[in-house]
Amino acid sequence: MTGLVVTGGGALCARGIGFAPIAAAIARAGVAEGHPSSDSREPSTEPFPSGGGHPLADFDARRLLGRKGTAFLDRRSALALVASGQALQDSGLSIDETNANRVGVTLGTTWGSLKSMSDYTRESLLADRPYLVTPANFPNTVMNCAAGQTAIRYGLKGVNATIAGGALAFLQVLAYVANALRCGHADAMLAGAVEECTAHMAWAVHRMEPHGRIDAGEGAAVFVVERSEDARGSGRHIDLELKSVTTSFSPAAGRSGRLSGALADCIRRGLAKSDVRAEQVSFAVTSQSGEDDRDRIETEALSMVFGNAQPERLLIKKIMGECLAATGGLQLAGLLVLHRRDPSRDGRISLFTGWTADGGVGAAIVRGWSRVSSDSG
């Protein structure tokens, strides 16, 4: 039991900005149909791999965020800023001088902005006068840039960290945030994950997963996490209760293709920590795409844990594309969306899962509530 709750969130993905497009996509449960769109500020000159990708079309950072402070912002940071702003607004947590020092940010990533890193590196290595690189672009190449920009924009002066954990990064972010809150480093944390869909990222996904049939997507999902008593004291609405976050690493299982067993163990430990029985889990949001051989890892793990009484399942990548680190955040966004408009699910318990090819597995157990009285979302 973590004693922590989510009091609001924000999300963007190929489906659009905010929770409404995600809700609509879940309702249709269709496959994301997107076409590579160019960064509106800087048209992409690099072609996408044949399958394309699923970027958020016509994402215009300056229109959404204004001109101030956005001149050197890269796409990844802009996505994080928009989702973070939404999360603060959705939660009703306002930042002022009384609490700014006690609110922090932790974001998950795979490799930062591959486009910013490779553009800058290319400028360093190949330009005629390499030392004339643009220093103002350098921060974008550092993996923690988006978290720093989020802190600057919203005045969040507490703990600020970036976890580079790939497909497990968001679960690791939740664990990090839980530690930070439980050990008194902060009173509220923005917990999120972000990944941009540029030609660079789409190629990386394509080359890493040559047999995968899932194309790159993009997204950001950020949540306000705080201690349960603080949320209740402030009157903020509790969307989700984080009952447990469990992650572990079994490289031998990763190599031998036995990750499903490791993931099943991880889920069981999470259930035990949460004091929840398997039959109480009504919903599972997996990182599956519905069209990938590797989907079997989560299918088998769920089968080992739940037997014939399988929870309902939502395959998040089927809707969003391969969003790497952001997938985890979008899974939680999917759960929040499922609860938000449906009081019949109030108090029900869900599971979300993830894994990495090198042997990382993770699971979170979450309980959710609706917000029927509110028009937000």
Binding site: T121, Q149, N160, A164, N179
Partner: protein, 374 residues
Amino acid sequence: MSALIAGSAIRTCFGDGAATFQGLLQSASGVGELRHADAAKVNVSHGYHIREVGDETLFRASRWLAECASEAMAQSGVDAQRQRVVAIVGTGLRELRAVERSALEPLAVSVERLHFAHAVHQACPHIREVVTISNACSAGGHAMALAQDLIELGEADAVLVAATDTMTESMLAMIGRFAEVPTDQVRPFDAKRTGVLLGEGAAAFILVPEGWPCRPLARLLSTGLSCDASHETVLDPEGIRRAIDDAFTRAGRTPAQVDLVIAHGTGTAINDPVEATLIRQVLACGRAGPLITAIKGAIGHTSGGAALAALDVAQRCLATGQVPAIVGLREPLQEGKGLRFVIGEPVKAPIRLAHIQAFGFGGVNAITLLEKAA
């Protein structure tokens, strides 16, 4: 709640931890001509390289990390097969250098090796988890803070806290962009300082709970964390001050008790005056204040590894009562007049409480307080 340091290993341009401390006590500088990059192109002529024969190999950051992890684990006596050990690795640029190399030469770089899980697992096969914190130049300090939390919450029996970074040409080009004439020596807090140079390095510590059966190297009291939330690259004294306050509150100590400060001290025009002023205001508090040293003049700026390299030096100062001089410092900057910088020769003094500062891009600050174990 405090924790104990049961093992420590570092790699710098001088070698291991003992060799590094020896080099520092001799006021030696590990600087040399820049290797593995075209000095004229990046406008950087010098660096603090880990000495290796032959050409640059791939995955050096991972290799040093694995060496330090093995060494620290062996020293600690912690058995990862019987005890729950998790690893936290701090880094700025991870294995970006391998990506640069593979872009320029026909090299096969496997994606799995761009992450540190592989290297840590090779060194410590029974490790339960590997978490990478990418917090630029304060990554090691942030890793140490998380490690202490995991011990406090009982989430792990012992934590391997590590950090590593090598140089990339892109980062060198950024540094070269700020210097009209390339510098040949980092001169922290010097009136005529000429800018920062990169170092290569890695570090690993083993953190265990109080009462653990071991001969502790030092007691970790606290790490205070904060974010400036003002600028990606410019220090904000108010933000750093919050991290300092946090560290002392957590530790139950006061600034007046500090015997030694290991400053971040990058030798840049802008950062050093801010840090010196802050030390005067917060730690000296109108008196002579604690001894101040800094290690980047001797070993360069080792990026994500910088905070943990300073922690290793701090634990050796606590153990030996010797404080090395700031290599490269001749005449302190105006803002540092009257502060007790260690200049020229090492100083012998009883050191009980050490205060270590680390600041990173993104405005992330980590202040660690380390106390003599017994």
